[in-house]
Point group: C2
Chain length 321, copies 2
Amino acid sequence: MLDIFKEIREDLQVLEKELHRVIEHQDPFLNQTSSHLLDAGGKRLRPAFAFLSAKFYNYKLKSVLPLAVALELIHMASLVHDDVVDSAMTRRGVPTVKANWGNRVSMHVGDLIFAKSLIMIAQYQKTPLVAQVLSQISVKMCEGEMQQISSVYQSQQSVKDYLYRVQHKTALLIAASCQLGAVACGASKEIYLPLRRYGYQIGMAFQITDDVLDMGADQKKLGKPIGGDLRQGIITLPVVYALKKSPDRKRLIELIEKTNKTEAEVSEAIDLISKCGGIDYANQVVERYIVKAKNELNYLPNIPAKQTLLIIADFIKYRKF
Amino acid sequence: MLDIFKEIREDLQVLEKELHRVIEHQDPFLNQTSSHLLDAGGKRLRPAFAFLSAKFYNYKLKSVLPLAVALELIHMASLVHDDVVDSAMTRRGVPTVKANWGNRVSMHVGDLIFAKSLIMIAQYQKTPLVAQVLSQISVKMCEGEMQQISSVYQSQQSVKDYLYRVQHKTALLIAASCQLGAVACGASKEIYLPLRRYGYQIGMAFQITDDVLDMGADQKKLGKPIGGDLRQGIITLPVVYALKKSPDRKRLIELIEKTNKTEAEVSEAIDLISKCGGIDYANQVVERYIVKAKNELNYLPNIPAKQTLLIIADFIKYRKF
């Protein structure tokens, strides 16, 4: 991703320092637990979108930096809480906070990281849209999580149910990253609305791709074991498709609804899903979102950041990690 | 408490309706889980402090209502997260699906309730102090929780360690309730600083009293079993005192550090703590905080709300539930 982001590379380095400054804690236990995920690195996708979007109007790093930090903190907090929920033992290739310290600590570390995002957001007194949008989205992210919990291992799900989750869990925060990056620098609706829509489509494409990768990517590159969603009973787009179209539908339902799948059963499920075209279907849906995302950029001026946003859109479908 | 609050009884009724409106959800599962705690009732102490404090300057219900709702939501969210127990460390195999599901839901319900408080707070665009103070305090509340986790079953604790927890977990939010109630109605420092200090002292007194009640209050009135803190390894003020002063210090350390106490051991510990004056000592500390709280009210004009705040201060030491 580094080459794609060359335009904002220095700003991403400043972000990294600022993230460390905000997360660091004088208490060693607090410092260790809350720095843990930060040290594992990450793509910093949401801050990058905020920076790039800010380029469309009176870009000033100091105007957009607290927002960029807040976005990454919100994302990180949700990852830490996801790990409590998902019983995930590794994330970004390293053991999760939960694996090291247990559920209770994970929960409070997530709360702490999220609360720190609020201190960042409180700095935007003059652009109240920042707090308004991010508070609304925080609610929706929880609603997405709750819907996921109540739908695990349930084979009777529609594409709409799945898209609701992707929208709430991922797309809305990426949409907000693009929107608010511009808002933080004072941009008006003509600029920030197309950016928000671009972010929304990209977010949908990004998450669906993520779900497809969970079905067959190289485990080392992904940094987590494949088939994780299936094991946890999370029904993703290829599965929804296959549950309708597979000639081995009965067997697939059996496998999907089983709460403790063996390795062999996970592999068998992935084979059935792939064979009937579930993964191809999901990739086509991704393609449609990417086309829509790129179309939104037509409403924006031709600046280098626009070229970068176009490249990111195309990159999504080729990414392998 | 109803008589004490007669001045704001109608406003508390409006608050109750507003809390329901904010918490209610069209999804039945989400509605059921997030309304659960709300339906159990509560003293609504933080909203009450916000209302009473607002009386000191240009009181308007609509100015202070979103804040009052936010304060109760923040408190409720912290209660829900407090109830999440550690299931990651379960011995001899995996926790039941049901137990695990319970924790996951609790965590996300807590997150959801907290996120809804942010929507309320985002309405105070013209009084940025509201978001600034509450974001700072949210961080401190997490720090208090983390300190508590890292100090359970540890008999080597100072009064200072204990007071840090009480401050972070309880006093700061009550201080903010008093401060921001006035701030929301446009009051200046001359009004809101004494109120904040009053709230801080009251918050300390309130939590220490709570901890004392956990050692011997009537179980039915309290609505939860006594000795809960001891069982969970949480070291409260009477314990800190007794661990220094008890003639049976060695036995007490043994009991305190034991992670699975029998009923008899809990009773024995409470007896040892009480016998050496631990509970009397804690009550004296409460008394000192109450005196300080009442002194702060000298800086404020003589209005009926001031009389109510005085009565609340005196009520704390007599409460039995």
